[in-house]
Amino acid sequence: MIFDQNGDVCEVNKRCEVIFKLPKGKIKGQSIYNFLLDDDELIFKETISELYQNKEQISKTFGFATLASDAILYVKFDLIYSEERIYAFGIDVTQEHEEHTLLKSLSSLTKTGAWHYDPINDKVYFSDECYHLHDLEPGTSLNMVDALHYYPESSRERVKNYWDNLIDHGISYDYVDQILTKKGKKKWIRVIGEAIKHKDKVIFVNGSFSDITDQQNYIEQLKHNEETKKLALKGIRSGLFDHIIETNMVFYSKDFRRMLGLPLDTDFVPEEAFRKMIHPDDLDEAMERHKINLQKTGYHYFNHYRLKHLDGQYRHYDVYGYRKKDKEGNTIRMIGNLIDVHQKKINERTIAENHRRLTAIVNNSFAYTLLLNTSGEILIADKDSIKIIKRDFGVDPTTTTCRFIDVMPVNFKSTFAHEFNEALKGHTVKKEIERMTIKGSVQWLESKYTPIRDEENTIKSVLVVFHDITEQKTAELAIKEAHIKEQELSNLKSNILSNFSHEIRTPLNGIMTICNMLLLGEENPGDRKKLATYLDESKERLLATINNLSHFSEIETIQKNLNYVEVDMNYTVETSFREYRHFANSKNLEYILKLDENCPAAIIDEDIFSTALNNIIHNSIKYTDKGKVVIKVKNEKKKVIVSIKDSGIGIGKDNLKKIFDPFVQESIGLSRKYEGTGIGLSLSKRYIEILGGKIKVSSKLNQGTKFIITIPKNI
């Protein structure tokens, strides 16, 4: 082919027309650019201008689209310039070019470059891909020594050895190493070198150079994953398993198999072999659960049982699994984990046991026991407290958070806050409190607030216990009461003595003064007589006092000499009534007797009954200055009631219960409002009691007093 500077074709031979698939004479006069592939146009232009300048022969291959456009034509030309014309001698290299393109693309896709070495001329050739792998421009000057520098320093000697052995001894190599590219990228490479020998001498070396970073990374990742799995299996004290349902073989991790004493030479163990390790007591239930678990919907699996270890000890395991199912929904494979929960089980049992003990302590140690947090909310309470809180406040502190102060008896509240705060400050505080039980009895409690600290010595809760001290308190009160009684008795004794002394001294004063005067010689006979009368009156009063005293001391004797006879009570009472009519009249009192028309009779000692009654009648008249004294007899079925009611001065409430005490009448102490020994009423009471009766008194100050004597008809 001959063409000019513009690429216009001047002349072609026959062969050219054939490979361009053109009819005769058609190509002549056309521009070569009509056929050139787009990619080659520029190169072609440059080549022509170079030829026109240097006029030296150039060899180059160009691609053309033939006129039929059904194939690409590659022609290798030798281009020669001569007299403004280009003479192109070409051969069809379409087939070779295609081969080359394929190899190039294979090299690029597999990230593998090729190289060869001619030891005789010490020349090395690297394919483009080799350069690419090193992030170098193809064609950069590179020999084996330069190439060595892309290896890390630690590898260089080894690689150099491979190389020397290959060149000197023809020993092929195939190694994997790391390089650092021109751009500083780390890459894993595989390098293969093979020698071609002639008469035992290396004459040529072929090799390849592949980037295997991706594979290597993948392998590294795989190794890491495997290591992770192994470490994980070692770390957790549990057994990974992979159960293939169809074959009923189970994979267990090696450590786990070692622990249970299962065979170590095979990863998979028949399920039956494993089943023998399950505790006989757990086996049936475990197998039942296993069956149900494999059939149920969803993908999860749970079981639990004890497994026998190589050392003969059984340990508790929980089994968690995930099932893989086929299209029909049958479990075909299950992967899971056997977790050793032995310590957990033991802990659970210990906790339960401790809880039972704590509950026993809480419920039985004290009357009430509560544990409060620092906000005063109930954490634990004994069952009695819970019962009371539920009953009185309708709250269950075991399920609802509630503050103790909101569910306590009202009278606790005032002191609780103080005690609780003291406890929060770290003090142990005690306080006695009183509580009314639902039955209405008084309960005395000693409350004790104890701060409870955690490991850091911080107060985290307060224990409040109530100790029932009612018995103690009752005893204390009884002692106090006994002491008061004793004091009262002692006071009574001195009062008796004091009153008695007073009652003797008063008439004695008169007697002694008169004696004195008589002895000094009172001459007036009228006066003498008067003095004698005074003397007599004082003597009478003294005697009465002494008589009363002796009556009182004679009670025991009287008791032994009673003379019981049936008497008409109307008659007996009327006799006494009559005896004091004169006295009552002298005070201008309305003096009334009301008898019972049934004429009740009673068996009594008339003497002592009359003495008792007389005392009371006398007493009533004596302390009534105006109004009336009413004496009444009333018949009842088995007893007779005699009442004596007056409108006199009355007796104060405090002294009312004391009026029957000997020598003590209403006045106690200095202001004695009653005249007399004070023995009368106590004597009356003793007499009536001897007769099996009772005497009661009711009174209002300044309104009057009523005595009621009850006498049984038949003792």
Binding site: T513, L670, S671
Partner: protein, 130 residues
């Protein structure tokens, strides 16, 4: 010498009256507290003798003493307790509440008359000073 004797027991009052009259004194008897308080208003008294137990629902001698003490014109008049309360401690008790002297019943007249004589001589001394 004018003496008021507050005493509810008539016999005791009468015999005391006789006894003291013999010793050249004028004795006025009051049976209870209110009467005594009336009497002191109108009479110039040199000495007051008070029984403690003055009977049923009545003002007693101790209360009466309190009332006397409130009266300014009695501030120089000695007031003696004459009573049958004669248990140990009684004497101190009455002195403590303000009685100038205490005499237990039965009355020791020698002592009582001696005390009266002292009052009389003191009275005379005061008169002569004037």
């Amino acid at each position: 010498m004018n003496i008021l004797y507050v005493e509810d027991n008539k016999i005791n009052a009468m015999v005391m009256n006789k006894m003291l009259t013999k010793n050249a004194s004028t004795v006025v008897i009051a049976e209870n507290g209110p009467t005594a308080l009336e009497i002191v208003k109108d009479s110039a008294l040199d000495l007051i003798l008070v029984d403690i137990n003055l009977g049923l629902n009545q003002m007693d001698g101790c209360e009466l003493l309190k009332r006397f003490k409130k009266l300014d014109f009695l501030k120089n008049t000695p007031i003696y307790a004459v009573t049958a309360y004669a248990m140990p401690g009684d004497a101190q008790k009455f002195i403590k509440i303000g009685f100038d002297k205490y005499f237990s019943k039965p009355v020791n007249f020698e002592k009582l008359l001696a005390a009266i004589a002292k009052v009389k001589s003191k009275m005379n001394n005061q008169k002569s000073e004037h």
